[in-house]
């Protein structure tokens, strides 16, 4: 058990309070609704808030101008962002910052931390892939190939390659960007590189960066799932049918408790992963913890999404009910960082290597 010290607890309290800058205390999702299906799927104002709050530098070193806080603090903040369905790509941006730091000192890090440039990662070659080196190749200072499922809205892309990290402006010659609308109102992009001129910065451990991002992503899913669960519980307590609250039906109670079981497992798994990965080099156990946290959260997200719709009845399938926003976000986000069967495959590889 990783017992938090008082300083960490206090940092977390302050961060969670600060999240009200983007997550209204009254649960209003008006801002979230307005940003949907307006490319890139989030607002530049929202991004400025993210930067002003200092969240981008949360885990970055003090030398780089960051706060040098740990993964548990970041997890706590992201959980709140998830509970408010914040569409700004905070987790993706911190992955890019992590990759930049991993690739050594770089001026782009400053502009990423201040929010002046939005830098987002392009690491995935296929929708079920987990290898950051795949999809592209560099020859004679020219990058070719494709990356997919890139979160839209970047000024620059942090592209992972077998040779290291390449930073490529959105308007670089030879880069074609194809955007796809997602069900939650955000966009993903497929990037096609045709002999794009690049400078490559050698990476030390991009897979470890991915593992940390996976845990943050799991925290986002957990925060959103927990809020959707709370909204659903409130509905079960108040909605009357056959002259009683539907929450008194044992069939629904038992299914609600299954969501509770999965929420608590996800919380324990994510918090333990964040605490254990926070110190030192990422070993097999750290990778396995990240894969677990992300797997559990992905399955939790789909469980809560489908139960929320079912328990709300037909209203849950309408666009006007807020619970539908949660369902959409959960099913879209659940698949990020590869499907669970791939995560399990990777888990078993680490398990064998650790033995």
């Amino acid at each position: 058990m990783h017992v938090m010290d008082e300083e960490t607890t206090e940092n977390i309290r302050m961060l969670c309070d600060s999240a009200s800058a983007l997550v209204p205390a009254d649960g209003s999702l008006d801002r979230v609704r307005a940003a949907r299906f307006q490319a890139p799927g989030f607002s530049r104002d929202g991004w400025e808030t993210v930067a002003e709050m200092g969240w981008l530098g949360l885990r970055a070193s003090e030398d780089a101008g960051g706060m040098a806080l740990g993964l548990p603090e970041a997890v706590a903040l992201v959980r709140v962002l998830g509970s408010g369905l914040v569409p700004e790509p905070y987790v993706a941006a911190t992955l890019a910052i992590d990759l930049l730091e991993d690739a050594g000192p770089h001026t782009a890090l400053d502009s990423a931390l201040t929010g002046q440039d939005i830098i987002l990662p392009a690491w995935q070659a296929t929708a079920d892939g987990l290898d950051p080196a795949a999809g592209v190749s560099v020859r004679n200072g020219r990058l070719s190939g494709t990356k997919c499922a890139v979160i839209a809205g970047a000024d620059l892309y942090a592209v992972t390659t077998a040779e290291g990290l390449a930073l490529i402006p959105r308007d670089a010659g030879g880069l074609t960007v194809q955007a796809i609308a997602m069900h939650d109102g955000t966009y993903r992009e497929t990037l096609t590189f045709d002999e794009v001129a690049v400078e490559v910065h050698p990476s030390t451990d991009p897979v470890a960066c991915l593992a940390r991002a996976m845990v943050l992503h799991a925290a986002y899913l957990h925060g959103a799932a927990e809020q959707a669960f709370d909204i659903t519980l409130e509905y079960l307590r108040t909605r009357q049918q056959f002259d009683v609250a539907i929450g008194s039906f044992q069939a629904l109670q038992h299914r609600a408790t299954e969501m509770k079981v999965q929420l608590e497992l996800a919380r324990a798994s994510i918090d333990a992963a964040a605490a254990s990965m926070d110190v030192g080099q990422l070993d097999h156990a750290g990778h396995m913890a990240a894969l677990r946290a992300r797997s559990r959260a992905g399955e939790l997200a789909r469980l809560v999404a489908r139960e929320a719709i079912q328990m709300h009845g037909a209203i849950g399938y309408t666009d006007e009910a807020d619970i539908g926003l949660f369902a959409r976000k959960l099913v879209v986000e659940a698949g990020q960082f590869a499907p669970e069967f791939r995560l399990r495959e990777r888990f078993m590889t680490h398990r064998e290597d650790a033995a």
Partner: protein
């Protein structure tokens, strides 16, 4: 039955919690490898007292019998993390589970609610193996609905007179002491009139009847009380305050029934059988195995959060039910997979003392009651829904 005492011969403990996890793991591994007696490993059913006694003795002599008790009371004083490591290392070796109702349940309860005299008398007797305890909670008709119990205790001078019946008592025939919930006031609300009593099993009027389970083991028994007289001082807490203690103990019990131990043991056997019969490298099997292994590791993380609450004295609360529900269902899912791996020979009944690592049907059957005892899954979901999720009745 009177037990001979196992006198601890250990020097004062080092501060185990000051060791790194790796150091403590190495220490625990070395301890079990050097001290585990010549008795079955990876035993699938609970070993009876004559079988497991040498292991209890080894643990008691070293001062390792009560890992979570404070060192000042003769325990190891382990924090939650170190305790888990100890469990893992014992599990990895296949060490049998000793008779631990005294160390896990009664001891901590006496520390919280017992008189100084009760603590001074009973705690050392548990450490020395002089008293082996049984838990007398369930009755025919009062299982998950514990408050419906009918066993009575009537005050007669300086004694309580107990009449009734307790059932589902794990290893009760091996115990020389039992703690028993009995109704001491029939005129009040059913939870309000219950007391917590300590009963010697050799008292006149106590009868034990073994119950053979589906695997053919007499692991359980019933105890009948027919005018059993015990001293008035054999009550823990106040008269009619037994429900408070029952709830506290059930909270502890649900933490420990939710311990990853059973699932960890079964998963180890699943891996061993799959490797032994060549199924291990099958990708479909690997995917199913990975899911179970990840579930088990997540259960570990969740278990740690509750053990931490126990250690710090934080309230356990109704949501502890999630732990017990998930552990028992995971154990059952692993047992399903064991049946798949064993195929047509899953039903083979192994001889006593055989390598029970490969007893698929035995594990399958052994996994059945885990969703029943300690509060059935269905009742626990009802409790969770009302007490934790605040859903209406």
């Amino acid at each position: 039955m009177t037990q001979p005492p196992f006198i601890a011969d250990h020097a004062p403990h080092p501060d185990f919690n000051a060791l790194s996890d790796a150091e403590f793991r190495a220490l625990a591994r070395d301890f079990v490898e050097s001290n585990y007696p010549d008795i079955p490993r990876f035993a699938q059913h609970r070993l009876r007292w004559p079988e497991v006694r040498p292991w209890y003795a080894a643990l008691a002599r070293a001062g390792w019998i009560a890992p979570t008790w404070p060192q000042t009371l003769g325990g190891m004083g382990l924090g939650a993390g170190k305790h888990l490591i100890l469990i893992e290392e014992f599990e990895r070796y296949g060490a049998a589970r000793v008779h631990d109702i005294g160390t896990v349940m009664l001891g901590p309860l006496l520390m919280q609610y017992g008189t100084q005299a009760q603590q001074d008398y009973y705690l050392p007797r548990i450490l020395r193996g002089e008293d082996i305890w049984a838990q007398g909670y369930s009755e025919p008709g009062a299982g998950s609905d514990l408050a419906a119990l009918r066993t009575t205790a009537v005050r007669d001078g300086d004694e309580w007179v107990i009449d009734g019946q307790k059932t589902w008592i794990t290893l009760g025939a091996d115990a020389n002491m039992a703690f028993v919930l009995a109704r001491t006031d029939k005129t009040v609300k059913k939870q309000a009139g219950i007391s917590f009593l300590l009963v010697p099993m050799d008292a006149p009027g106590v009868t034990v009847r073994p119950i053979e389970n589906l695997e053919g083991h007499a692991e359980f028994c019933e105890i009948f009380f027919d005018g059993v007289r015990i001293p008035a001082g054999n009550i823990v807490g106040e008269v009619n305050q037994g429900w408070t203690m029952a709830k506290a103990l059930l909270g502890h019990e649900r933490v420990f029934i939710g311990a990853p131990r059973l699932s960890a043991n079964a998963l180890g056997r699943l891996e061993a059988s799959a490797r032994a019969n060549g199924l291990w490298d099958d990708p479909a099997f690997q995917d199913r195995f990975a899911r179970l292994a990840m579930d088990l590791a997540d259960l570990n993380d969740l278990f740690e959060t509750y053990v931490q609450r126990l250690r710090t004295g934080a309230p356990i609360g109704a949501d502890v039910g999630v732990l017990k529900i998930f552990q028992s269902e995971l154990y059952q899912r692993i047992s399903e997979e064991l049946m798949q791996v064993a195929g047509s020979l899953a039903g083979v009944k192994l001889a006593e003392g055989g390598d029970s690592r490969f007893d698929a049907a035995g594990t399958y059957l052994a996994a059945r009651p885990t969703t029943i005892f300690g509060g059935s899954t269905e009742v626990m979901r009802n409790v969770l829904a009302r007490a934790s999720l605040n859903l209406p009745k």
